[in-house]
Every structure is written in C-alpha cells, then in structure tokens.
Symmetry: C2
Subunit: 306 residues, 2 copies
C-alpha cells in the first residue's frame, strides 16, 4: 500500500525572536533546517526552490520560506514601492505545496530594529564590481546584510537560491564561506516559460508586446552557448553576438551584457579550461523593456565539463 | 557533606567546523553556551570574564574561550607582531580555573579562508567616530568582523566582554542587536591593580617608571566621577580636569580624553538625566607611555542612577 507524503501546515512567524525559537526547537529535535529566502510575489520558480529545499532536508526536516521586500536592496528610483506584494496568495501557494513548516514574514521594524539605514552591515568586496553590481550601487550590500539577518533569524543548515540571480548567489556563497556561517548554499536552475523567458516577479510588469519580445534574453544566452560549443573563446565576440540578438527586439534596451569568470565574477581575456573556476564562465545580461528591468544568465563551460 | 563544584577539562579546537560541531552538540544536549573572546596573553581580568561566563551558564552549561590575535584589528605600525602570544600559559591558566569546556584557537587561515583582507566584512556605522575609533581607522571593522566570525563558529547563547574596551562593547552590542544574532552580551567590570591601573596584556610593555606613572589614567577618571558628583555637567570641563591629572605624569602623552553618551558614543553639550542613555555617560581616555598605549574608562551617572 503506497504511503502519502506528509503534508506540512505552515506557521507564520513575524518576529526574529519567535523565528529563532522555532529554529532552535527544530534543531534541538535533530531536524535538518532549510531556508528559502524570497521577496514574495511567488511564482513557479520560487515553488521549485521550496520543493528542492524539502527534497534536501527530507520528510523529517524543516523548511522555512521567508518573505521580505527588503528596502535596503532597492536603489533610488527602483521599484521598492511598486514591487508586487501578494502575501495571501503567496501563503496559499506555499500551503498548496504541502511542504513548508514555517513562513517568516518580518516587518521592516523587526528586521531593522534601529531603523534605516541599519547600523550594522555585511558586505562582500570585489564580486559586486561587474554585472548588476556595476549598475545598482549598494544593492548587494543590502542583499548580503539582509541575508545575513535571515540566516541568523532562521538558523538553517542549508538555503536554496535561484540561479537567475547568479551574481547574488556567487556573492552569498562567498559571504557564507568567508564568515563561516556553516550553511550550505544550494543553487537551483532557472525555471523558464515555454519560450525560454526566465520566471520573474517582474515579468508581471510587461505589456503583451514587451512580453513577446522578452524572449530575446534567453535567445541571446543560448546563442552564446552555441558559439562556445563551436569553439569561440573571445568574451568580446560573445558579448557582441548577444547584443546583436537582443537588438532584434525593438522594445529592448540593453543595460549590460557580460561574460565573467563564474566564481570571481571578473572579466577575462579569453575563455579557457584553466580559469579560476576551472573553465566555468557566466554569460549574463540585463535588459530594460520600458521601466521593467529583466536579467538572465547561463553558465558557459569550456573543456571537459562542456 | 559539601560537594565540590565540577571541574571541566578543556578541549582544544582549531577549525571552525570542529568548533561548530562541538557547539551544536552542546546545544542539542540542551546546554547553555557562553563565549569569552580573547586575544590571549590572559591575565586576571580575562579569568574574571571566564568565571562570570560559568556563573551565567551554570554547572551544566558550556564555556568556550577563544584565543585569536586578529590581524585585521591592528593598524599599520600597531603591535600585531609584538602582541604577546603565550598559548601554553593561557591554557594552563584556563585549566586552573577548572571551568572551561572548550578553547578555540583558530589559525589565521581558519578564520580567513579566502585570505586577507577578507572578502566579507561586518561593520557598524557612527559608533566608531570618537574615542579609539577616531585614532585607529579600520580597527572596529576588524573587531566586528572577527567577533561575528567567532559568534558563528562558537554559537553561544551569551558572550562576556570586559568593560575596559567600552567602545568595543557598545559597538558589539549594537552589531549583535541590529543583525539579530540572538546572543546576550555581558559586560564585566574592569579588573584593576591595587593602585587602580586597569589590567591589560599591554601593561607588560611598561618600564617600572612607566608602570608607576600609569596610575594617572584611573586617577583622572575618578577625578571626573568626583566632579560629576559635585555637580559638574560640562564635558569640556571634565575633560580638562582629566587632562590636568594625566599631565602630572611626566612620561604620559594623552591621545584622547573624551566624555560621550554611553550608548551612542557621541559627544554631548552637557551631561543630563535626559540624554539618549538616560543619564549614563562614558569618560574614556587613551594615554601613551613611550610606544605603549593604555586605555581606561568609567561610567558617569547623572540623576537618580548616580
């Protein structure tokens, strides 16, 4: 007789102290804890992270999803105020997965008890020089600080992040390892629409026409992968090919197109098997459609891993 | 028949992972964990912190003493190389207390796995503008970063610090509360020699003549307390009185003498019951004897607390 998987009823936590007490109790019970940090406005990509988290900790484990639209990672003129807030729908979606123990939805005051800007910040140097970091000053300091706070509040053994924010994941990996959090970071592959568009809460901002043309991001990245497979090793050539692909969409405006080492996130002269990351590179781009900024990326592999 | 208190045999840990495993096991066993972070060269002041830690967690608790001469909190020209390293004597002294479970002595490589300067740093703004922070650029960023690492490695419920480093303690309190570590910080009163000199590992640098004159630091601070008791409320007057007292020692050279709010560590126009800390102020000074820099401080209380 087949047994049904357990169904978890999620409990809402809104203060750091209550969340820590929940985490400590779960740890004391010998459970393995996973955290999926989100800004809410959950879509199928987020739910894939949640299922990955459950798979990793097993049926006896403990899965927390945090929902917090963090003001300090939005710059002036960015969409902090407009960012979609859909808490009821988010909780329903999480409960439908039947796999979440705790939902952590702190207020801004709970996360920043001394107000904003916070007194204490966590920063990672150098890895924010290129890609989004070059265009969103202060963004990654906001991200590392809030994720450190979420790690301290939720005390997980592992945390799952989407690879769509590849630079964020690389920076958080560095932060976690360098400070010695003792937390395993799991990167989950980008979840895409049928036409290749990476899922994003910001896709909701797109007009029908913009949505149709937004396919050029993933097309450009696939073109770069194909070029590498054909032997192209010049990052400038790859970038120009991606730009040309994006230019086929009249409504698209490129913010950046870059190819960098996958770990150091620094530009390279040429792709090779001997780079810092052993032949792994990141092709990434940010493209505006009107006021909506979309990002996407792929890993380029050179050599035996390819 | 009286029962003897338990005697704890300390175990040495040198890697972050091993220390975390020890802490997790102690937490899983329901024990309360205390950490006493030190730079080694232990003296009676440190041992008082260790006994305070044991008192706080009780006989069933778990006490870790960390010993790490942290390179990133020493500036160029400071005494990082010369700082006394007396690990064998330190371990003997800790074992003689019979109250330490774990001694954490990480290598520089264990604490900074990506080398120096670290990629990830933890900083607290504003509270480092005055006192030592004004004279040791980068010092407190080094302190907050290494203490965050020690907290993450040792996972204590509480940590005990000496009040001799009053600015350090105030900054660490802010860091701990703002990032939400969920760790209680305990400040232990300054332990002094019979003549009033605050115990310090750096006292070992003093010549006999300097040692005799070093009594002026605590004399100056007591003079400030007496002046406040007589009704003096002008921080400039208090500072001048302290400077005059230090000037009675021919070998002394003042680096700073300041009176600041005890929590914000900012200067004030006048001492009052209504300040940010409710009438608590910090009188602090740093004085050189030759190349040896000594610090000391007292709390000035105004109003009902006085």
């Amino acid at each position: 007789m087949p047994t049904s998987p357990p169904v978890y009823e999620s409990t809402l936590f809104t203060t750091v102290a209550a969340m820590q007490a929940e985490a400590d109790a779960a740890r004391a019970a010998g459970r393995r804890l996973a955290l999926v940090p989100t800004l809410g406005a959950l879509h199928a990509g987020h739910l894939a992270l949640v299922r990955e988290a459950r798979d990793r900790v097993g049926p006896g484990g403990h899965v927390t999803v945090s929902i917090f639209v963090n003001p300090t990672q939005f710059g002036p003129g960015e969409d902090f105020e407009a960012y979609p807030r859909t808490l009821d729908a988010d909780r329903d979606a999480l409960d439908e997965t039947g796999t979440v123990d705790a939902v952590f939805v702190p207020t801004v005051e709970a996360m920043y008890p001394f107000g904003l800007p916070p007194f204490a910040t966590v920063a990672v140097r150098d890895l924010d020089r290129h890609l989004c970091g070059a265009h969103r000053p202060g963004h990654f300091a906001g991200v590392t600080t809030v994720v450190a706070r979420l790690f301290l509040a939720c005390r997980p053994h592992l945390a799952v992040f989407g690879q769509k924010d590849a630079q964020q994941l690389a920076i958080l990996r560095r932060m976690t390892a360098d400070l010695g959090f003792g937390i395993e970071l799991v990167g989950h592959p980008i979840v895409r629409e049928a036409d290749g568009l990476a899922l994003s809460s910001r896709n909701a901002y797109l007009s029908a026409q913009e949505r149709a043309q937004a396919v050029v991001l993933s097309q450009a990245l696939r073109a770069a992968q194909a070029a590498v497979a054909r032997g192209e090793r010049d990052p400038a050539v790859l970038a120009r090919a991606m730009e040309a692909q994006v230019a086929t969409a009249p409504l698209a405006r490129v913010q950046y197109v870059e190819v960098v080492d996958a770990e150091t996130l620094q530009p390279v002269e040429a792709l090779s098997e001997g780079g810092p990351s052993g032949g792994r590179y990141l092709a990434a781009l940010a493209v505006f459609f009107g006021a909506t900024r979309l990002i996407d990326n792929v890993t380029l592999r050179v050599g035996e891993q390819a």
